[in-house]
């Protein structure tokens, strides 16, 4: 078990079962002190250091997470606000565009109507002019025709003065008829 010095081993001294031994107490106290300081130094100090470091890291990441969360919330609120503003703006734009389109179409319709009226008027004037021109043409032709008819009827030469008077009379009568 334990190698003993020969001289002592021969004696085989044993303490009584229940004994108080000064040497044992002394050595035990020393051993206990060594154990306490040893455990403190080799077990508690390194482990507690590591635990503290881990706690620190956890605290740090928690703080960071909270910060990130609040930032994200702020960003979200900002986006929501911007989105609402954008919606409002687009609605306004659509309203404005609709109004302008309406105005424009009214304008176009009015212009078309005006143009149509102008065209109608022009056509009427043209018609009037045509009518007048046809009337004067008709008049000159009728005068020639009348002369011819008159020559045939009269079968005689009449002097130009009578001629002219007769034509005028005829025309007047024709014009009266008309």
């Amino acid at each position: 078990m334990v190698s003993l010095p020969a001289a002592v081993a021969a004696a085989e001294v044993k303490l009584p079962f229940l004994s108080i031994d000064t040497g044992t107490i002394l050595f035990t106290l020393i051993n206990l002190a060594i154990l306490v300081f040893g455990l403190k130094h080799f077990l508690f100090k390194p482990v507690n250091d590591i635990l503290a470091k881990r706690q620190e890291a956890v605290d740090k990441s928690l703080t960071e997470a909270e910060q990130a969360k609040s930032e994200a919330e702020a960003a979200q609120a900002e986006y929501a606000e911007k989105l609402a503003a954008a919606k409002e703006e687009s609605a306004e734009m659509i309203r404005r565009a609709t109004r302008r389109a309406q105005e424009r179409s009214d304008e176009i319709v009015a212009a078309a109507k005006a143009e149509a009226a102008a065209v109608m008027q022009q056509n009427e004037a043209e018609l009037e002019r045509e009518k007048r021109r046809a009337a004067s043409e008709l008049r000159s032709e009728v005068s020639g025709l009348a002369v011819m008819v008159a020559e045939k009827v009269v079968e005689r030469e009449i002097n130009p003065a009578d001629h002219a008077r007769l034509i005028d009379e005829f025309i007047d009568s024709v014009g009266d008829v008309q």
Binding site: V8, L26, K40
Partner: protein, 258 residues
């Protein structure tokens, strides 16, 4: 009866005797005799094993990616720290290494008997030393929080007639702690020795030279007398130390208020 010569140890224990630890060497120091006993040598082994284990467990500690070894070390430290905090309060946290030391010393010192040697804790001097430390800390705490006068006056509380009883109870605290632990472990050791002896004799009585009954059967009793009892005594010893020491001071809130 033996057909062939068998080694003596196979016959089992034939001569049980109850003794104390063997004295390996001793020195004369004036009137004092300083003995180096078997117990002390075993203590050295126990302390070396505990410190070696501590060093092994705390090698290469990391904040992240904890190894199994580190997990064990952390769990041990956290468990004992929590126990001290819950039993004694926060201001006694510095006391944790001492409690852990006594606990480990006691457990390992008792369990070393499984290797066939005397348990360290079956030597009364050892328990007396530990109890004396507890006693000193109790006294120191009382003086620290009550002053010398308060400490001395405490012996005459609630009336001077109580003085002898108070002194007795003061001394009885460590004495009872030491004797309880010693009695349990040493007694358990004697019982186990008698069991081995009895079973060996029973083997011889049915005509077997080899102590066959000593195989396996004592292990059942050993579960209680060695494992359970060793653990219980270590736990009881540190619990009593913690309770007595923390009771020696004022309650937690009073201490933090002052």
């Amino acid at each position: 009866m033996a057909i062939m010569a068998i080694p003596a140890f196979l016959r089992g224990p034939t001569d049980p005797n109850v003794t104390g630890p063997q004295v390996i060497t001793s020195w004369k120091l004036g009137p004092l005799t300083i003995n180096l006993t078997e117990t002390v040598v075993l203590e050295w082994i126990v302390v070396a094993v505990i410190l070696g284990l501590a060093c092994f467990l705390t090698r290469n500690l990391k904040v992240r990616g904890v190894s199994k070894r580190q997990a064990v070390a952390e769990m041990a430290v956290e468990t004992i720290t929590k126990l001290v905090r819950d039993t004694m309060g926060r201001r006694w946290l510095w006391f944790t290494p001492y409690i852990a030391s006594v606990f480990c010393f006691s457990i390992f010192g008792s369990l070393i008997s499984l290797f066939g040697v005397r348990a360290v804790t079956s030597d009364f001097s050892v328990l007396l030393s530990w109890a004396a430390v507890t006693f000193l800390i109790i006294t120191w705490t009382k003086i620290r929080y009550g002053g010398i006068g308060g400490y001395l006056k405490g012996f005459a509380d609630p009336m001077p007639v109580m003085l002898p009883i108070n002194i007795l109870s003061e001394v009885a605290t460590p004495a009872a702690m030491a004797l309880r632990h010693f009695g349990n472990i040493a007694g358990g050791g004697i019982i186990m020795m008698l069991v081995y002896y009895g079973l060996a004799n029973a083997s011889h009585m049915i005509g077997l030279d080899i102590a066959v009954f000593d195989v396996g059967i004592p292990a059942v009793l050993s579960l209680y007398f060695d494992l359970f009892s060793d653990f219980m005594q270590a736990f009881i010893f540190i619990m009593l130390t913690m309770v007595f020491v923390s009771n020696a001071g004022p309650a937690e809130d009073e201490a933090s208020a002052s």
